[in-house]
Amino acid sequence: MTPTTRTRWAIFSLTGPAYLWLACTIFLPLLAMLALSFLDKSPLVPKPPEFTLGNYGAFFAKDFYWSLTRWSVELGLWVTFFCLLIGYPAAYALAKRIKGRWREAIFLLIVLPFWSNALVRIFSWTMVLRSNGIVDLTVQSFFPGAPAFDLLFSYPAVIIGLVHSYLPYMILTCYIALQAIDDSLVEAGRSLGATSFTTFRRVVLPLSLPGIVSGSALIFVPVIGSFMEPRILGGTKGATLGMNIEEQFTVTANWPLGAALSFILLAIVLVIFGIIYPFLRRQGGNA
């Protein structure tokens, strides 16, 4: 065996188990779903299904799909943006400014909320955000007669709930990327006469880009498919494509349409990442 075949063998044996696993449990079922999205009825129905493009056609034929898609993408962008805005400085502070035991402790404290059930978390948020809720009662007890605080069933409520759910992703991916950056690089930057900000922008930021990219992907991608947070926290204001997909599976039992909508969602994700990928490559990101 030559080293080149050995390298090939190494790649195969490192990626093989994970991708074999993914293939058996996700890719093959999803391929079946993809095939299903071109049929006019579920194969579990006794009548033979026929090929159709109608499920994809429906997406383009109905205006509301376009609105739902736009909102889902906008929601994803907002949530990713706020997670980055809040999470990156926190990750930076944790990686570069906090030393010793506190760092581990805070690191763990950031993940722990994640281990609670999403639904329980969302209901807790309703308790916080509604009028007569925690925030409202607290404000009223300190400032009687203050205007009522009621954010529940609004777009900001959806953003708050989703940012809360996904913030740990951003903090952790940025943290582990930032933590791998050698402080001497920063010192080198400073010694070459760069200001703190320039050093940050030209040295730290590019090197932590893989963390930002990973975090953003892990946030943006699921958020645009989300349906629970928008429904519970947004009331009538939280309409997303994810909710419609869910309905195709639970209410109308129209799997082919639900599958088609899912793959449109996936295509949007891939197009967006396809657009930013060359840019990231140029930045030296390893994503």
Partner: protein, 271 residues
């Protein structure tokens, strides 16, 4: 100035933690509140913990969830780290495609994946003459690991900007087999990423509802399944109680772990 800055940084982290913990505290608060409908004003009562102690089904569900999540964490973290290492170490054809393939599991709603899995497993099971194999703990674990893998690969990948290739080569010249290199050099170097990934894998499994729900055999249930299916009738603060216990116990465990084991990176000289 530096001190002032550090004070500001600490304050900022505290604010972020408050934001993260606000709903958790609310959850815990209502575990101790008498009203079954999460009504205010607050009245302290342990009634929900008492109810929980008698609720075998919920306790068993919580226990099942923990076991599945642990098994999932071990498997997904190992397989995912290996794949991430391959992506970090080597440049090869098809890498970008393989990385892009990680998007479907997180982009496609779980409900769709869950349905696809259920039908696919059923179909495979039927064609090999064992339709019963479509469901069960093995199927749940298969599904959870698959859903956790992309998270693990992404998170570990975030650590791999500067891959320690020279260290691996050094280990190889010293006689370490590829597996020894991986275990004794790569893994410890990647540890912060791997630990973070493991925490994510646990969280993904611990909150996974659709897959468990579709693939669990009758009579077997997990905590998220219990929570989601009880939503129609209404879930009681017992759920808050068990969630509070889980968070409190894991917080205790993790802090103990943090006390004895450092994964935030190598020790620096002056510590």
């Amino acid at each position: 100035m530096r001190r002032f800055l550090d004070g500001g940084i600490r304050l900022y982290l505290v604010l972020v933690l408050i934001f993260l913990y606000l709903p958790i505290l609310v959850m815990a608060l209502f575990a101790f509140n008498r009203s079954p409908l999460y009504g205010l004003p607050f009245e302290f009562d342990l009634v929900w913990f008492e109810a929980l102690a008698g609720n075998k089904r919920l306790l068993q569900a919580g226990w099942n969830s923990v076991w599945i999540a642990l098994a999932n964490t071990v498997i997904a973290t190992t397989l995912g780290t290996m794949a991430a290492v391959a992506f970090g170490r080597y440049t090869f054809r098809g890498k970008t495609l393989m990385q892009a393939l990680l998007f479907p599991p997180i982009a496609i709603p779980w409900l769709v994946i869950g349905t696809a899995m259920l039908v696919f497993f059923f179909w495979v099971g039927r064609s090999v003459g064992a339709p019963g194999m479509a469901r069960g703990l093995h199927a749940i674990l298969l599904g959870h690991v698959a859903l956790s893998l992309p998270y693990v690969i992404f998170v570990v990948g975030a650590r791999l900007n500067d891959y320690p290739k020279a260290l691996e080569e050094a280990a190889a010249t010293l006689g370490a087999t590829p597996w020894q290199v991986f275990r004794r050099v790569s893994v410890p170097i990647l540890a912060p990423g791997v630990v973070a990934a493991a925490l994510f894998a646990f969280a993904v499994s611990f909150d996974q509802f659709v897959i468990s729900y579709f693939l669990a055999p009758p009579g077997v249930t997990t905590l998220p399944v219990e929570i989601y299916t009880s939503i129609r009738k209404g879930f009681t603060p017992e759920i808050n109680a068990i969630s509070t216990i889980i968070i409190a116990v894991s917080m205790g465990l993790m802090l103990v772990v943090a006390r004895f084991y450092r994964f935030g990176g190598e020790r620096s000289g002056n510590e």
